[in-house]
Amino acid sequence: MSGTAMLNVNDLFVSYGQSQAIHGISFGANRNETVAVMGRNGMGKTTLFKALMGVLPLKGGKVEVDGVDLSREESFRRVAGGIGYVPQGRMIFPTLTVEENLKTGLENAKNKEIPEEIYALFPVLFEMRKRKGGNLSGGQQQQLAIGRALVTNPKVLLLDEPTEGIQPSIIKDIAKALNEIRKLREITIVVSEQVLSFALDVADRLFVIEGGRLVHESTRANIDADRIKQYLSV
């Protein structure tokens, strides 16, 4: 990978006990670039993202953000190192209010107030700010999870299947928000996806993951949609 990459993943290995799930994945992503990792269920998308975030330990390989090696760091240090994480299933804190959920991301911030930019991106969060997170709809929770990750001021934003279980109209909104975020902050976004149309809405480059390996890469301009669809079909 080139030295300018914001996120640099090199020869990543991950296992659950004896069984290896990720077999040597390498890729990079530049500043102000969105890449999508496409793949069916069980192909290793979530495992890859958990390993990038430090939720699962690496068996081997390297994760670098902005030239800093974070491979051995605990999750909370990776956040300080510039990784923001929107997990699969959203994982907002249901017992905390929307406002408190957002505030949890301010650990490393000097100013402990929620930036107005977040509410500008997701006005619904402002309306709901006193509600418990657990009482929001799926789409609202997804926006909350993205907002919470953005509050940490990441250089690299990881989103694990942000469209899963969300109604189509909200999917459009989320795609719009992601493009808006990239325009505003010029950060790197890595998103895992099964829905090709969503990936094409947001990503500059697409990878296909299968059986814990990256098996295909293409830019949006040169995409062979039929081939990717074949990978995604069951």
Binding site: F76, T95, E107, G134
Partner: protein, 304 residues
Amino acid sequence: MSASEMWNIFLMQGFAGLSLFSVLLLMGLGLAIIFGQMGVINMAHGEFMTIGAYTIFMLSSLTETYAPTLTPYYFFVAIIVAFILAFAVGWMAEWALIRHLYRRPLDTLLATWGLSLGMQQIFRSTFGAKEVSPTLPEWLLGSWAPAEGLDIPINGMFVMGLTLLVTAGVFLMLYRSRWGLRVRATVSNRTMANAIGINTKKTDRMTFAIGCGIAGVAGAAFTTIGSTGPTSGSLYIVDAFLVVTFGGAASLLGTVASAFGIAQTQSISEFFLTGSMAKVLTLLTIITILMIRPQGLFALKVRR
């Protein structure tokens, strides 16, 4: 016995129950936040209370020896010192022992029980097996008699006030401070809290230490209503566990309600029955209620 005498006895026993309620509540609060945050059942919690009680005793002796004129005021400082000492010992215990045993509930149970035995022996070697009592300031003694035949002890009222203050402080900290936010996020989802930038291990240590510090304050309160021995704390640990289980783990409001219920049942029935019969009655009531509501009095109603 006339009806008004009965009523006075009822009131006075009720008030004695409030003192017991105070100690149980302070003990239960500490246990509940530690259990809620990291699922650790701290068997040594009673000994952290004893640390607080001995702190008061030591400071009272020191004041008497070196600055007798300050005797009326030392108590306030002593309460703060009791908190700080119990906090510091709790911090070290978490660092040296507990943090290596998370996710192994039976091992933490054994380890903290061992810690409790060790601490008891340290107390015995340092202060002797005999029970001691600090010299309380004048203004804490005596009683307030609002009516004929009705005596409300002042130390009891003081302990009540202290408990209200500490409980309010804990609620405020949990719902308004950064530490509280960290605790509530960690309780809600530990992995995710870490992945949003919260140092959950540091939060664990802080929470354990604060829980122990509150037990230290409970010990300070305890010295006004009883004398301190090496095993004083272990006498309260069972009741404090009852308070937490009965109230519903991880519910502070439940802890308050159940401490009140247990202390009052115990104290009022103690007057009309013997001490052990009162205990039997209390336990029977609790067991019956827990059989019907295993989750305790107050359980969280949010979907997880």
